[in-house]
């Protein structure tokens, strides 16, 4: 029992949070400055969402996620096992509880939230949300029986040496190379016998990762086997003008690399997009989209504008951006699914109440005049 108490005391020690906060501050500063070169997403992945931060690929140090886990554990021990229930400490107790809830919400958001873009042309409709950063290899089966079924591979499958197999796919795929950012360059020299399609005329040149994630054009080299004449090495990149198509028994299968795409349980039809600027300038004043939400035979009209998103169950649609091609306008919505979004609201109230109470209890003695 005494040993347990000793452990509780050790694990709830303010020293743990002291050193963890110090390290978190270093990560925060470093990760923020690194955004200039790495971009926000990559810096976030490297410094804040990582368990381990490798210094020069040699020395392991705690990443942001590990540091925050240590803080959460320390906070948990302090809050539930080492808090003194004296009235003078109520403010601190409440503050710690609010902070603990905030960390819990952060954990939920980190593991159970997703976000992406929904692009809808004026007059058009869509339910496909594209990830901001991650790519996938998609096989679109156009055989009549399968009605454009999409089989996609992402995450751990999108790495060198991965083998892509699926019962519905009548061939095997081996990933030979994956490029985060690439550009096709005209092939110079001998063309390998194995190379097929675009790979016969173009090479994919690796480009450095662009700090602005959306500017990166993913690329991949694949080996296809099991299709007889069509077996060989193929090169694909995001936004290829001519799709790579394979003839299979009963139809065709199209293959491409694109942003990871997932469907929404409803469709969004863009009725009208409106952009206002401050008079006499080109500075945007407001963006607004009139949309129709189509779900299970029902239609609901709604407006999505800057700072006024549309919430549908666990999904929230924000007016994120737009584009114009001179004929039609296209509205770009950020779609977020976040099961932990209520936590910051509750925890912020609790934290502020806690600090406020602590101030009420402590401030008079700290500011009072002596003598």
């Amino acid at each position: 029992m005494t040993e347990l108490k000793t452990w509780v005391r050790r694990l709830s020690s303010p020293s743990i949070i002291y050193y963890s906060l110090f390290w978190l501050m270093i990560l925060l500063f470093w990760g923020t400055v690194a955004q200039k070169d790495l971009g926000l997403y990559q810096a976030q992945e490297t410094f804040f969402s990582s368990w381990v931060l490798w210094l020069g690929d040699v020395v392991p140090t705690p990443g942001g996620r590990l540091t925050m886990l240590v803080i959460t554990l320390n906070l948990t021990m302090k809050l539930f096992f080492a808090s003194r229930l004296h009235w003078k400490g109520w403010g601190i107790l409440i503050t710690h509880f609010g902070a603990w809830l905030l960390m819990l919400g952060g954990l939920l958001t980190a593991y159970f939230s997703s976000e992406g873009n929904l692009v809808v042309v004026e007059g058009g409709r869509s339910n496909l949300v594209e990830d901001y950063h991650l790519n996938e290899i998609a096989f679109i089966d156009t055989r009549p029986v399968l009605e454009n079924q999409v089989i996609s591979f992402s995450g751990k499958y999108l790495r060198k040496g991965a083998e892509l197999r699926h019962p519905e796919l009548p061939f095997e795929v081996e990933v030979l190379d994956v490029m985060v950012n690439t550009t096709p360059v005209k092939k110079i020299g001998v063309v390998s016998e194995e190379e097929r399609g675009m790979a016969r005329r173009f090479d994919l040149a690796k480009l450095p990762r662009d700090p602005q994630s959306e500017r990166n054009r993913g690329g991949v080299r694949l080996r296809i086997s099991g299709l007889g004449d069509q077996d060989g090495v193929y090169a694909l990149f995001s936004g290829m003008g001519v799709p790579q198509i394979f003839n299979v028994e009963g139809g065709e299968i199209e293959i491409g690399i694109r942003r990871r795409t997932s469907p929404l349980p409803f469709e969004v039809k863009l009725i009208d997009f409106e952009r206002q600027v401050h008079p006499g300038t080109r500075m945007p004043k407001s963006f607004k989209s009139e949309v129709l939400i189509l779900r299970e035979g029902t239609k609901t009209q709604a407006t999505i504008s800057m700072n006024k998103p549309l919430r549908i169950n666990e999904y929230t649609l924000f007016q994120s951006s737009f584009s114009e091609d001179g004929i039609r306008e296209t509205s770009i919505f950020a779609v977020v699914e976040n099961h932990g979004r209520i936590f910051p609201y509750i925890s912020s109230i609790i934290i502020c109440l806690g600090i406020g109470l602590h101030l009420v209890l402590q401030l008079p003695s700290l500011i009072r005049r002596v003598g």
Binding site: S15, M25, P279, P344
Partner: protein, 623 residues
């Protein structure tokens, strides 16, 4: 005889004053006209100040004791003479060297000189304009900035040239054919308004073979005049003509734009006639007639209470006055340390309170003018943080009554006023907001709270400085040191409350606007940095990692976190909501952080030695 002489002098004095008064009133009325610029309506006075700031890096020309509105008036009435005045201030030696202009000690150059300089390197300038800003050298940036300012200055100077009566048609037949008066000064506007058939007529006349030589030459002069003047049609910046339907989204038009319309409404014709009449009378020094025309124009364009408020704001210059009170308060406080303590410190507090009142009222006026909360850009955040620091200092002073609060308030209030004035020199401090920031609710909650957090942390930081100085100066005065230490803990807690609340509110705004509570955006990280630093200090104290001296050093360093969060993140130019980039920030920020780090280090080592020495001495005494 003496009496008559006295009356004559009196009459002369009165007439001089009266004449000056009329000019002054005319200038005031001109300054009170409304113009739409950079997306908002503002008085011509503000427009003139901002233009002059860009040109002269000051809102008045001290050399000639000339106010901005008078300067603008001279510019639009006498552009050619203005081009010869040395109104441009260029301090960058390399820029002048590139334009092959001999630098002067007073840094003042005329538009004409600079225009000739730019002409010499026009090809280079055109090529630099195609380079992305981040790839431009510092000299290129400065030169292109000057080039844009010169372009805007020139455009404004041509705004009213359509009213300049600088053409006389001596050929009576031609004049009568056009329906104009012969041998009478005419302006582009008068010719244009007299006949809208002039272009058709010109084409017809030129085709006729029997066209007499004198007529031809008269025509030729007229055509050349119209063609030359026509270039000024592009001068559309001085948008003085209000639309009939006044909504926030309506575009105001410049006189050139209105005149260029196919059909003018009677209201528009009347407004242009007023401006023509004003222009003529003003040039003819008929002040009364000029004033009458200008008043008539102003009444027709309509009154706007916000414009009046902004005029008052410009004229009262409350922030300069509050700075004066803060400096007086600081002086009185210092005097109180020498003698008459009670009286001087009471006067210091009164002066501080006056300063805070004017400071607050100045911000209130800005809120009324812009119809938005007190902080919406970097300049306003500086002014607001200064005010918060003054209020916190004042409260501490009222409770403690030992001068420390007063010292903090006057020091931070004055310092931030100086920093604010520096930023105000960049131009309009009441710019419009981009769509995502244009939310009064979040500006009033998140932005106000976090900037209050900055202000209170700055006060806590200053307490850290005071502790170190006191520990070096009087290491044995433990009572006073403990008191400062306790106070700084209290202020740190208040700072923690506001920075935490502000940071969380920022997260909630992000969740409401962009769909994520926390995106590790530089501005968010900056705010979090202050929270973490304060938390670390408070927990380090509880964990016994340091005592009063270490805590005070930490508070001094807290100022670095505030500076990084407030200004530093703008240098990264990434993320969703940094306010904007100013090159001078980098140098000033480095200097500030370097100074604070050095102060903390030297202060710690010095104070620690002093305390050690004092202990050794007291041990020796005991032995």
């Amino acid at each position: 005889m003496r009496f008559i002489l006295f009356l004559l002098v009196l009459f002369w004095g009165y007439s001089v004053l009266w004449a000056n008064d009329e000019t002054k009133i005319n200038s005031d009325v001109f300054g009170s006209l409304t113009v739409q610029h950079d997306g908002r309506l503002k008085p011509v006075d503000t427009f003139a100040r901002n233009l002059l700031l860009n040109v002269h890096t000051a809102s008045r020309i001290s050399r000639d004791r000339m106010e901005a509105v008078d300067w603008l008036w001279a510019l639009v009435l006498y552009p050619e003479a203005s081009y010869r005045r040395k109104d441009f201030k260029v301090r960058e030696y390399e820029v002048l060297e590139a334009m092959k202009i001999q630098p002067r000690e007073d840094h003042q150059y005329s538009f004409q000189e600079l225009r000739d300089g730019v002409e010499g390197i026009r090809k280079d300038v055109e090529q630099w304009l195609t380079i992305k800003e981040e790839h431009q050298s510092l000299v290129q940036k400065h030169l292109l900035r000057l080039y844009h300012v010169m372009g805007f200055y020139y455009e404004v100077s041509r705004s009213l040239t359509l009213f300049e009566e600088d053409l006389v048609i001596k050929n009576e037949a031609l004049a009568s054919e056009l329906g104009l008066k012969a041998n009478h000064p005419l302006s582009f506007y008068l010719i244009h308004s007299a006949t809208n058939r002039i272009e058709t007529l010109m084409v017809e006349k030129m085709k006729r073979a029997d066209w007499a030589t004198d007529k031809k030459s008269a025509w030729s002069r007229l055509v050349r005049y119209l063609s030359d003047k026509g270039h000024d049609r592009l001068a559309t910046s001085l948008t003085l003509i209000s639309p009939k339907e006044k909504t926030s989204a309506s575009d105001w038009l410049s006189p050139w734009e209105v005149m260029g319309k196919q059909v003018l409404s009677s209201r528009e014709t009347s407004l242009l006639n007023d401006l023509q009449s004003w222009y003529r009378s003003r040039k003819g020094s008929d002040e009364r007639e000029a004033m009458k025309s200008l008043e008539s124009f102003r009444v027709k364009t309509g009154d706007n209470p916000r414009i009046k408020e902004e005029l008052k704001y410009n004229r009262w210059d409350l922030f300069t006055k509050s700075l004066g009170f803060y400096l007086i308060s600081l002086l009185l406080l210092m005097m109180s340390w020498l003698g008459w303590h009670k009286l001087m410190s009471a006067l210091a507090k009164v002066s501080l309170a006056f300063g805070a009142g004017l400071h607050g009222y100045g911000m209130w006026m800005r809120m009324e003018i812009m119809e938005r909360p007190p902080v919406s850009n970097l300049y306003e955040s500086i002014i607001f943080v200064g005010w918060v620091a003054v209020l916190v200092g004042l409260i501490v002073e009222l409770v403690r009554r030992n001068g420390l609060g007063c010292l903090c308030a006057t020091f931070i209030g004055s310092l931030l006023h100086f920093v604010g004035f520096n930023y105000a020199d960049d131009g309009d401090t009441m710019g419009m907001l981009v769509a995502v920031l244009d939310s009064n609710f979040w500006l009033a909650t998140h932005v106000v709270t976090i900037t209050m957090g900055y202000g209170i942390t700055a006060v806590a930081g200053l307490f850290g400085h005071i502790y170190l100085i006191r520990a070096i100066w009087k290491p044995g005065d433990q009572t006073a040191l403990n008191e400062i230490y306790k106070n700084s803990i209290g202020i740190s807690l208040v700072a923690l409350l506001f920075t935490t609340l502000g940071t969380i509110l920022g997260g909630i705004w992000a969740d409401q606007s962009w769909g994520r509570f926390w995106g590790w955006d530089p501005k968010e990280n900056g705010a979090l940095l202050i929270v973490l630093w304060l938390l670390m200090l408070l927990h380090g104290r509880l964990g016994g990692h340091f005592k009063a001296l270490g805590f005070s050093v930490g508070l001094v360093l807290a100022n670095i976190t505030v500076a990084l969060a407030w200004f530093g993140v703008n240098l990264l130019a990434v993320g969703l909501h940094n306010y904007g980039f100013t090159e001078s920030i980098a140098v000033n920020l480095c200097l500030f952080c370097g100074f604070e780090a050095l102060f903390a280090l030297v202060g710690y080592v010095w104070a620690d030695r002093r305390v050690q020495k004092m202990r050794e001495n007291s041990d020796g005494d005991l032995k």
